[in-house]
Symmetry: C2
Subunit: 388 residues, 2 copies
Amino acid sequence: MAEPMMIFAAQEYRDRVAKLQMGMAAQGLDALLLTTPADVFYVTGFLTRFWASPARPWFVIVPVADDPVAVIPSIGAALMGQTWLHDIRTWDAPDPRDDGISLLTGALADLVPAQGQIGVPMGLETHLRMPLADYDLLRAQLAPRQIVDATACIQRIREVKSEAEINKIRESCAIAGRAFARVPEFAAEGQPLSCVFRDFQIALLTEGADWVSYVAGGAGPDGYGDVISPAGPQPLRRGDILMLDTGAVKNGYFCDFDRNFAIGRASDTARRAHAALWQATEDTLALLRPGWRACDVHAALCANLQKYGATPSGGRLGHGLGITLTEWPSFTPLDETPLREGMVLTLEPGCVTGDGRIMVHEENIVLRKDGAEVLSPRASHELPEITA
Amino acid sequence: MAEPMMIFAAQEYRDRVAKLQMGMAAQGLDALLLTTPADVFYVTGFLTRFWASPARPWFVIVPVADDPVAVIPSIGAALMGQTWLHDIRTWDAPDPRDDGISLLTGALADLVPAQGQIGVPMGLETHLRMPLADYDLLRAQLAPRQIVDATACIQRIREVKSEAEINKIRESCAIAGRAFARVPEFAAEGQPLSCVFRDFQIALLTEGADWVSYVAGGAGPDGYGDVISPAGPQPLRRGDILMLDTGAVKNGYFCDFDRNFAIGRASDTARRAHAALWQATEDTLALLRPGWRACDVHAALCANLQKYGATPSGGRLGHGLGITLTEWPSFTPLDETPLREGMVLTLEPGCVTGDGRIMVHEENIVLRKDGAEVLSPRASHELPEITA
């Protein structure tokens, strides 16, 4: 049963930890404490859907000058034992008296001097996946050690993907591309949206997804009102624009892109909107380079949409992508994160097509030294029509 | 597009909030602050897979004597607008300067007097889904208001399901039951475990699941080494016991049960273990009543396993179930939570079948006044053999 964990060779994880440790040393951190599925997977390769159970906390400590230590519920010992980690400490969770906190305190106290600092991600787009009362207890027990924010330390490393990671994301994108190509097989006038969502998930699995963490979308005349809803029983109608958006997972890596389909012949409004979204993406892709800031992408997409006669929608127009459905940075007017070679990103312009209606369009890219390489099979310039 | 949110009539949510408010009043809480998908769904009916994106925090405030207030990213305004909530406040997230914290502080400061208390779940099986730095800021801005632990307040209400909720869980169980019945169609000697997992997810969707939040399992001679792993490419072999475990979701409600299959003829060891697991479950089901504590179920399952010659495995032997894959309480020796009428629970005995190998068996039940009603289609007493 060793195969599930062999997504990457151990050296991939060692390289990641070495980079984290350089950042930690620069910030004066003696250890990182990680608690989320993504951070734990990033450092160890520990991949399980068991995170869906909120019952137990899981901890990985990255010391500044040694290999990571896992402090985890015993139910995960066998699976963590298949990773490259050699120091795995377990307790029988959930334990209402002490759910791993003594074990974690002991491990951190051994690794971090009394005057030392422990980094925990505390900033935008992070959360701490452990009970708050236990965190307060941990902090008190570890004093005078300080727990400080390590968001930047993690994010500056995770946001630049290795070629091995890029290949995994490309594979997820290819799976979704094949599933999108099959949408005309099951989306037709009269078909309930809930059935379309179900068949789309089946197509994603059939085409090779390990699992489907995200499907959303919408359907309506010339556009849709929102892009995060589950599907209801309402049937597709002639004149609807159907949008499907997915985060399918292969080997722990996500894609995140969407596609639009006209049910019957597309109206001029919808065709023009789709063309503007496609061309604004194309023009932005041609210009994008390392050194741009996240807000520059937002500005470029808005300017290009306007150039093609479209009114940009609100909200962010793309983001990072990798081991969660969305990662930082965000393409908003406020995010000044510099874009760097190796970042995997989504470009997701949206435009207003009517009262309370929008259309969106999304592609996944990796930023290379000389510009964007598109990882998702590029959408067709013409809005596809399902006229069967 | 109103249908997706109409999982229950508004009265169901009003009843829940009224019960929460009684508990809050008893504890002296002026408001609850909720941040997780399950707590937000429970109070509002807001259901979306968009939680897969860690980019944005979402907040719902339950005042002690008024309707809930949603403080959410504007991307969720349309969907939240379909729920019974009428006070929905939004900001453009993610905002690196102020990601909803001013808006949330203002809302809480208006609802809670300066000497008041705000409850947040902080205990076992909880976490706070917002950035820690923002939580510290919120707490400082709200002072002298106190933020205190509200775990019990939430859990004592959520753990007892309404008939409407029980019907939803029964529906999820029925879907999984039909999918399990189809396992012999796609699990056979030589088939890679990863394909079996994929086909099982397809079967769950085909049988009516909205999505599949959890599939795990294992396969090995006379049992498996762990129960939380993703599947690898290794093929099923004659003599393997295949176990599949799923949390399929319908209308936001989970099932959580597993089934075992022998690939080829089952060995005596595997047949005896399955019979002991089945009979220990049967005997415990016959005795279980409201008033038992969670630890009593653990003791009964262990005693019954031993009565039938099996060695109980470690870890918890069942848990609560509902709007997450697992809920409290936990059937461990340490959990003294009283079991009450209306609780939906899983019974999940496990036994050791060899060196590093176990078999597990799981059913979902609702606890009635006079005993357990089984919600999952009861496993067959005989271990099924796939001999095609």
